[in-house]
């Protein structure tokens, strides 16, 4: 089952006089439940690619299909819905809400989901807190947590809406390598137990090796595809 499909994607950034051509024709298919790394040097277009899949930006040309929907032609409010229902995000610098505790941070996306009642919400959040190993810290604020713990919260928050795809742009860049590997392992375990696709970008060869499949980006082109 295809989960993401990119067709002839181009993305230019307009800088007034000059144009940065960040992606120069990408074709990519990602199946349900895949665990994928997007690798490549700095400036190769990894973030740009993930943003397009994450419905945060529109391509200059080409089509983005997510779960059978052509999202690159949808309006803003439809994209909000897609992000809320189908996509989970994990960020490099965690992006947790400082005033909310662990429980509340994970719960946050569900607060605007009308189809999830409070009982179901509680069940999901509690289960996820246990799954990421933070049962003892659920009342703590992000500032009281270590980097690894914060990223665990972020992983749980990304999963709480039961998305089809989780996107993680350099999720380990702000962590030491041991903790980074732990986070990737956590993601991998969840990926194996659920039908959620994970797409993460990274520079780190040790992290890249954990992926089931690797897409190399170089200067806006998809170089090759490795299956480990």
């Amino acid at each position: 089952m295809v989960s993401v499909e990119l067709k002839a994607i181009k993305k230019d950034y307009d800088l007034g006089k000059t144009k940065v051509r960040a992606l120069k024709g990408i074709n990519l298919t990602i199946d349900k439940g895949e665990f994928i790394a997007v690798a490549g040097p700095s400036g190769s277009g990894k973030s740009t690619l993930l943003n397009l899949i994450g419905c945060l930006d529109y391509p200059t040309a080409g089509e983005v299909w997510i779960d059978g929907v052509l999202v690159s032609s949808l309006g803003e409010s439809k994209l909000n819905k897609i992000r809320l229902h189908t996509i989970g995000f994990i960020f490099q610098s965690f992006n947790l809400i400082p005033v909310l505790n662990v429980y509340e941070n994970i719960e946050l996306p569900l607060l605007i989901r009308k189809d999830v009642n409070s009982c179901e919400r509680k069940k999901r959040v509690t289960n996820l807190i246990a799954a990421v190993g933070l049962a003892g810290q659920k009342k703590q604020r992000p500032a009281e947590l270590s980097g690894g713990q914060r990223q665990r919260v972020a992983v749980a928050r990304a999963l709480v809406t039961r998305p089809a795809i989780v996107l993680a742009d350099e999720p380990t860049a702000n962590l030491d390598s041991k903790t980074g590997i732990e986070i990737i392992e956590l993601m991998h375990t969840i990926n194996k137990s659920q039908a959620t696709s994970f797409i993460f970008s990274t520079h780190d060869p040790k992290i890249i090796r954990r992926a089931d499949k690797i897409h190399y980006l170089e200067d806006g082109h998809l170089k090759q595809e490795h299956t480990l």
Binding site: I82, L84, Q92, D169
Partner: protein, 430 residues
Amino acid sequence: MKLFLFSLKNAIRSWWRTLILGLFIFFIGLMVTFMGSFSLTIRNQMEDAIINGLSGHIQIRSASAEDDDFAEHMKSRWKGASFLDADLQKRIQAVLKTHSGSLAAGACVRHGALFISDTDKAPCLIIGLDPRSTYYQNAFVLTQGRMLDAEQTHEIVITENLAENLKVKTGSVLGVLSQTSDQYPVDLAVTVVGIVKYRMLSLFGFSGVYTDIDTARELIGFYNNEVSDIIIYLHDKNMTEGMYNTLLEEFGDAGITTESIDLQPVSGQKIKLSTYKSMGNFFISTIGAMIAVFYLLIILLLLIVSILIFNLVYMMGIERYKEIGTLRALGFSKFTAMRIFMTEIFCVTGFFGGLGILLGTALNLYFSIQGMPSPAPAMDFIMGKRLVFQIDYSQIVLTMGLLFGFSFIASCIPAYKACSLRPVETLKET
């Protein structure tokens, strides 16, 4: 509910900013509430001063009387020669008698005259009335001497202003020069028995001279019991309009032609009815204008606070740049994100504004029971020794609405701006 708590937590986290904004809003809430009651009270006092000292609630004059506002007296000489003759007075009184339960009527003679002391002279309005009337006494703060004695004639009570101008004290004898309605000069000596400050009206330098009705008649040459006007006092100011209309109709039925109803004149004389609102219009509207200026200041203060709110929300937007981006990435719509911001501002407005209004109301309530002491004896003529506040509770709702309105207007633009940034931009890692 949980999103509301989220906003609340944000407000508490940036407590210093919340406090600054809150203090401003608190202050405005307090000011508007307090000054609302204060100005309501002052306005009412002004109306009472005019009613007690000059016009009563309703005034009946000859239709040929030209004065339409007491303030005209300050601009020019009083043209007071028109009168109601004894017969007309009887017919008017017959109509008024049917309402004796709800009104009190008194006769009054008014006339312009020149007052002369040993050193100075000043034109003034003479107001002659029944010295036993308690109404006119309420219009003053007596600073020297006593009020008029019903057994005596040729006594006058004058204002402090006039006493200063003429350089006289109680006991001084003044000469009065005037002209009767048929142009004969009258020269009379009167004794100052009391010096007063007009409540409120002294603000305008208004200087009526009070005397008994017979002395006033003598000065204008009303030898047949004529009066300038009949003044009607009601129990309740709010009944003025109703009684005014009733009387207009009843006078018409009694064959007394009122100016506003075009019936055939029966006695050859028409009468004119007016309320304190038209006779004291200049004074009332001047006080109204002063209050309006005050509210303008409040609005100005609100505008400043709006700019403050605008900046704070703008800063909030910059500070939470990434947070907004995160919310948007998680699937929050622009408007949901905005709502979180504005709820925060509304919480601050509601809490601190409510506190201000609460304190203001408590203060008003206290002053409505205890009275507010006059800050200086010189102010007594405006406020009395103790100003007993009147409270209009509908103002609480209005003030709250005002505060919320302004904070909404001031916060929605920067909140909208912050929330409609493209999430990719706000999420960029540096």
